[in-house]
């Protein structure tokens, strides 16, 4: 398997990863380099729109191969069930309160869209195709994990708000979900013609914008690690690396069962392996205010995200390739 290491090494010297590392190092070294909040949000709007739109265009081109609904269902199931696994793992590995464990579990059931985007880039760079509708699957996996985690808390008597209609609306109409689905639909409806019109903004400059966004995420992750160092026990860090591998395995199985393309399997693994750091943290502050936000954010952004970005994705790609070759 020298391929994995080669891939990982190649991956590590891409401008995208190096930008993240630059941010991480700058923040850990206490540089005052930082992005204004408005710019970070602007970059994330760009990325969500671009990835949604291009996914939609790709679906409009290749047509729906009938697996979309099955893939969406699989995504929802993964998002609902992964928090249960994460919760069990957390209770076994780290001694956290029910509330804290459930809050972290919600993050790991949901997804990180930037990890997804980075994986898409890497796949494209390798010339491996993937189903365009995986973007829709990503959107579908954002929220169910929240429901699952709140249900765990209620079942375990840990307090927590029951899902009110208001909370439902707040979660489902979360900006990033709406933007992702909306731009997916726009891409689907306008197809290649739409891409020709607005591709000048969303295609060529895309990777450069991703670089800047990852630089910012490195800065935020580094600052988080520096400030909240004390909250992260070694056991938690271990969880932050074990859990994505567990998730990726689940994603691999679902992906193969669904009969996704090799690229699609990788993306399913990446979605399952990645942990939310935008939608879920906000939802947890509303629904589980007693949970310590520093804990889950530091773990998700400071441990799991860099792990996936550097080692995880190449590993998942290698695993999917082996699986595709049938050499189980």
């Amino acid at each position: 398997m020298p391929g994995i290491f080669q891939l990982a090494a190649d991956n590590l010297v891409s401008p995208i990863i190096l930008s993240f590392l630059l941010g991480l190092i700058a923040a850990l070294g206490r540089s005052d380099l930082n992005f204004p909040e408005a710019i970070a949000k602007g970059l994330s709007i760009y990325l969500l729109f671009a990835i949604g739109f291009k996914g939609g265009v790709s679906v409009s081109g290749h047509g729906l191969d009938g697996k979309l609904v099955a893939a969406l269902g699989a995504g929802v199931m993964l998002s609902l069930s992964l928090p249960v696994a994460a919760f069990a793992l957390l209770r076994a590995m780290a001694r956290l309160s029910v509330t804290d464990a459930a809050a972290i579990a919600a993050h790991y059931g949901s997804i990180s869209i930037v990890t997804f985007v980075a994986a898409t880039s890497l796949l494209a760079g390798q010339g491996i195709a993937a189903e365009g509708y995986m973007v829709a699957v990503a959107a579908a996996m954002e929220a169910p994990a929240i429901v699952s985690a709140l249900w765990i808390v209620v079942a375990r008597g840990g307090g927590g708000k029951r899902m009110s209609a208001d909370l439902w609306r707040e979660i489902l109409l979360n900006g990033s979900i709406v933007l992702l689905i909306g731009s997916f639909v726009i891409g689907w409806m306008t197809g290649q013609g739409g891409l020709n019109e607005i591709g000048g903004l969303f295609v060529e400059p895309f990777k450069g914008v991703l670089c800047l966004f990852l630089l910012d995420m490195g800065l935020v992750a580094g600052r988080g690690l520096r400030t909240n160092r004390s909250t992260l026990s070694l056991r938690l860090v271990a969880f932050g690396i074990v859990m994505p591998v567990v998730g990726a395995l689940a994603g691999l199985i679902f992906g193969i069962v669904l009969g996704l393309s090799q690229g699609g399997v990788v993306l399913m693994m990446v979605l399952s392996a990645s942990a939310s750091y935008i939608a879920v943290p906000a939802a947890m502050r509303v629904a589980l205010p007693e949970a310590n936000p520093a804990l889950s954010l530091t773990l998700s952004l400071g441990v799991t995200f860099p792990f996936n970005l550097t080692l995880g994705i190449p590993l998942y790609m290698a695993a999917a390739e082996i699986a595709a070759g049938g050499n189980f």
Partner: protein, 103 residues
């Protein structure tokens, strides 16, 4: 210039709770408030800053209400119901306002 006694209530609360708070205030009959952005801070749950952040989870806003003194308790009850389980501080100062008919 004619001034009138009032209370200035400043509620620093998590950004995700802004809508919940302002809704509770409206329901309690508070007719006016102003929301100021907050850049960062520190408290028992550690330090935070909005720099470079995309999500709204770590971030706060400051809501300022000027009200007639006799309406203070209603406001505090409404605010407290929202703030209670959440990170946040509530601070009340005595003030004078112009144009009391507006409050």
């Amino acid at each position: 210039m004619d001034t009138h006694p009032a209370k200035r209530v400043e509620i620093i609360i998590e950004a995700v709770m802004e809508r919940h708070l302002t809704q509770a205030l409206s329901e309690a009959g508070v007719t006016g408030f102003t929301v100021l952005p907050v850049m960062g801070g520190s408290g028992r749950s550690g330090e935070w800053s909005r720099e470079g952040q995309v999500g709204r989870a770590s971030g706060m806003v400051a809501v300022i209400c000027l009200i007639r003194p006799e309406r203070l308790d209603t406001l505090l009850d409404a605010a407290f119901a929202v703030v209670e389980r959440h990170i946040g501080v509530v601070c009340i100062t005595d003030a004078q306002v112009l144009r009391a008919e507006r409050f």
